[in-house]
Symmetry: C2
Subunit: 368 residues, 2 copies
Amino acid sequence: MMERMPRQGASLAEPVPVTISVDAMGGDRGPAPVVAGMARALADNPEIRFILHGDASKLTPLLARRKALRDRCEIRDVAGVVTMDAKPSHAMRNGKDTSMWSSIDAVRNGEAQVCVSCGNTGALMAMSMVRLRKIPGINRPAIACLWPSRNPGGFNIMLDVGADIRADAEDLLQYALMGNSYARVGLGIARPRVGLLNVGTEEHKGRAELKLAHDLIAGVSDAAEFQFVGYVEGGDIPSDRVDVIVTDGFTGNVALKTGEGTAKLIREFLSQAFRYSFLSRIAAVLALTSLRRLGKRIDPRQVNGGVFLGLNGTVVKSHGSADATGVSAALKLAVELAQADFPSRIAARVASLSAKGQGVGTSGAGLR
Amino acid sequence: MMERMPRQGASLAEPVPVTISVDAMGGDRGPAPVVAGMARALADNPEIRFILHGDASKLTPLLARRKALRDRCEIRDVAGVVTMDAKPSHAMRNGKDTSMWSSIDAVRNGEAQVCVSCGNTGALMAMSMVRLRKIPGINRPAIACLWPSRNPGGFNIMLDVGADIRADAEDLLQYALMGNSYARVGLGIARPRVGLLNVGTEEHKGRAELKLAHDLIAGVSDAAEFQFVGYVEGGDIPSDRVDVIVTDGFTGNVALKTGEGTAKLIREFLSQAFRYSFLSRIAAVLALTSLRRLGKRIDPRQVNGGVFLGLNGTVVKSHGSADATGVSAALKLAVELAQADFPSRIAARVASLSAKGQGVGTSGAGLR
């Protein structure tokens, strides 16, 4: 965990007490992998507490066999579930009695620091915006993901990976600022390198809004204390040229799922390769530990969890189809963010940039 | 080669004589890897011929050491080179005396069946459109790539991967039709399954032009004899749910480079894993053959080569940074396309669809 989120200046002697609010329902696989993932996360961090939202008649039996978890988990009985195919606008208007709504409200009320849900992304974002409200100065929240990379910390940050299918130049500027703050707080990088995703690195390439965003981001990089590396391409996402990759939510979502799909395909090819011959089967046994390490490194479930940025409160979106391993990874990320006091620090950074008049929201000169 | 492009009904007894026109200049690494790649391709297909376009004073020494290649390669001395950072419009207006122009013209004049270039993609597309002209009924050509997949043939087709950064609904429809023809001719699939790339598979998701394209493509699938599987996501690109993935050139290019970047990263992780311990080093030796097979399977260079669709003549775009392995893969693809008589067959299919009034170009009812 520490290699994943090295925090500068965090005191390990005094761990912050952490409560995670968990939406038990709404994932593709129902509450069972959610509860199993909680048990795993608790085994790694025995000090955390959970508030679990969902149908108590289904959740109680799942907790029955897990005494350690039961002792640190409060169930909030909520009947409604936001389905995966629900329209976000409908879920937002009619979702008050759902596990998703209830799990967000626990963060709103200060009972938990972070909310984790495997549910419908659009509905989760819409409800989070209504219940938690945007940080002053932010027009459009974004979802950021960690991407395995060649950098010493092992991860890059990409955003937006699916909060909104469109982003104009100013949205991309805000994503750059939020990604910069996330890299600073979450990855402990003093002066993050920020790149703008495009189809080439030449300055004349790409869509018009990208050229405008390029100039806007370049203009604030000094004040916001990041290094703007200009355009980057898909192949640079896992590279050590950059720490933060900025893009619209459509492109980011396609890139994220393409990367995950490629990793999954190669894992299958790898296990086929080792079943191929007698010698390769022996080799697989000899290399078991190394192969397991590799498997973990390229397993998309291990980096499960998109963080909603730009809200007064932290929400982590897990994959809808996450199994116990995936849920546990999302919960670990949530714990790390809570321990880093992430929401208040990112809000403070954005506020200080607004105060400098350096262009978050409409406060900057000439940004509209 | 046959497993990559199984051709139905092609007679292996009478190979078609193949001449490939090669742009020697304009790649990131100059002409040396191009000539080395030609030598490899010739070793696999001793019957092919080349016309090589570029600075003869640089090319002659490279051929000097390769007698077999020299005997089957004609040099066209051209002084000019289109640089990687040239604007397409500029290259098109001022590019007459370049190796790129000359290599396209050899296809235009019927001297070669296919042109291969490692040069500037935008310039290559712009020149190809001017010199070869679009097939009647096609508004916007596209670049299609092969993507390693779980399908029995081992590859799916994705387009557009970078001909144009924008595509409206009718462009996407045309990409579906061209991708369908490519899958039929190139992969030998009788009734290809076509999917439209989006950020979710639910019908209400995605951008407005995607919803319109969804309905347009669904409307022609019967007449064009393909199966429309609706929306697919990034994770489906290598799947066996689909044979052809349709998207705009911006998204397609990012997805392609992201997939390649992910594969490259995992290859690095894999070799690190096998250097990790004494046992894993022994394992690597035992599994050498299997690992080499795997390495080949996940090596982006092995599927190098984007095919320009929608033109009166076939152009294959190799990666700008391709080494000899990459160039040789692009040349093999070019040979396969030439042997399959690809350009005339795809033109015939598009013409027959136009005749049915089934919506390529402006001939279809209500497509604008």
